[in-house]
């Protein structure tokens, strides 16, 4: 049985607790990158992560890109809008097609 986790600052993700996600807030995690790897190894299939945190864990997230599980999903948090999610989509298009053909649609 797989679980869903949310990582990020408390303000951005506390709402997700109500529907049964497990929260890992910044104030509980001394080392977010370690937490991420632990979650990935422990039956968490979907890990929501705020964009602000995703920025700092870029390299760790990249390791799971080619793996089937977990899915690490950047979501916008209360503060900071970095467009990481959209960037990942354009990157995928660029890899597959050779250039970003969906840019302005």
């Amino acid at each position: 049985m797989y679980k869903i986790a949310a990582m990020g600052d408390r303000d951005s993700i506390s709402g997700f607790a109500s529907i049964g996600l497990e929260l890992f807030t910044l104030d509980q995690m001394p080392n977010p990158s370690e937490t991420l790897h632990n979650l990935a190894a422990n039956q968490y299939a979907i890990i929501l992560i705020t964009e602000a945190l995703a920025m700092t864990l870029k390299d760790d997230i990249a390791k799971y890109k080619e793996r089937q599980l977990p899915v690490i999903l950047p979501i916008p948090g209360v503060s900071g809008d970095y467009g990481i999610g959209m960037k990942a989509i354009s990157d995928a298009v660029e890899r597959a097609v050779g250039s970003d053909i969906l840019k302005d649609t």
Binding site: S14, A17, S18, I19, I46, V71, P76, A88, I89, A96
Partner: protein
């Protein structure tokens, strides 16, 4: 033909011809695979993009509700309200095979049978904004799961397309021309040695005839 060593023999020629046929068939198959993957990828990626834009907007609005909720009551009240969630969610993961790319498919299960049973607090000390936040987050959860599936599929498909395209190119521009060159080289070499064998035979025959004529002439004279 650089870097290829082979003997110009008939056996080698047969072997290379077989390899060329295999390479051509592989090339065609991989090309078909790439085209079909690309078609599926384009479908998935445009849905992915649409869903992500919609979802990001919804999450932003949920965040705005949350900020409002926080501004109206003390932080501790919000924190304690959300401390013990009533609901818990788990996933079952299945695999779907898209052109031999294995992508995950999720199904969500809730502990409580009523999916609307999400408010882990009494309504007396909290405000409506918090309820809105929770409700909107609960509403977008199916979309989040769908988006997770889509994003993973797109990433895996993108890397598979990249790999397949490299293989197609390697076959088309390196392997197949190399085999063709080698086959041409061996054919020419074999033809050449055949011709030289024939000329040699003709020459020998001429020499033998000449010798026979000379012998006959000598015998007639004596």
């Amino acid at each position: 033909m650089a870097g290829m060593t082979f003997n110009p023999t008939r056996m080698e020629l047969t072997k290379l011809k077989k390899r060329l046929v295999t390479a051509r068939r592989g090339h065609k198959l991989l090309k078909d695979k790439r085209d079909e993957l690309m078609r599926q990828f384009m479908e998935a990626i445009s849905e992915n993009k649409r869903l992500r834009i919609a979802l990001e907007n919804k999450i932003r609005s949920a965040n705005r509700h949350m900020s409002l909720a926080r501004s109206m009551v003390r932080d501790e009240i919000i924190a304690t309200s959300l401390l013990f969630p009533k609901q818990s969610m788990s996933l079952t993961v299945e695999e779907k095979n898209i052109m031999s790319v294995r992508v995950p498919q999720f199904t969500a299960q809730f502990r409580s049978s009523d999916p609307g049973d999400i408010y882990s607090y009494g309504f007396a000390f909290t405000n409506a904004e918090l309820d809105d936040t929770i409700q909107s987050i609960s509403d977008i959860m199916p979309d989040i799961i769908r988006l997770a599936e889509l994003e993973k599929s797109c990433q895996l498909m993108a890397s598979e397309i990249e790999k397949t395209r490299r293989r197609v190119n390697a076959l088309e521009h390196v392997m197949i021309p190399r085999y063709q060159d080698a086959i041409r080289f061996i054919t020419m070499k074999l033809d050449e040695s055949e011709r030289s064998a024939i000329t040699r035979l003709m020459k020998v025959k001429d020499m033998m005839i000449e010798k026979a004529i000379n012998d006959r002439r000598k015998r007639d004279e004596s």
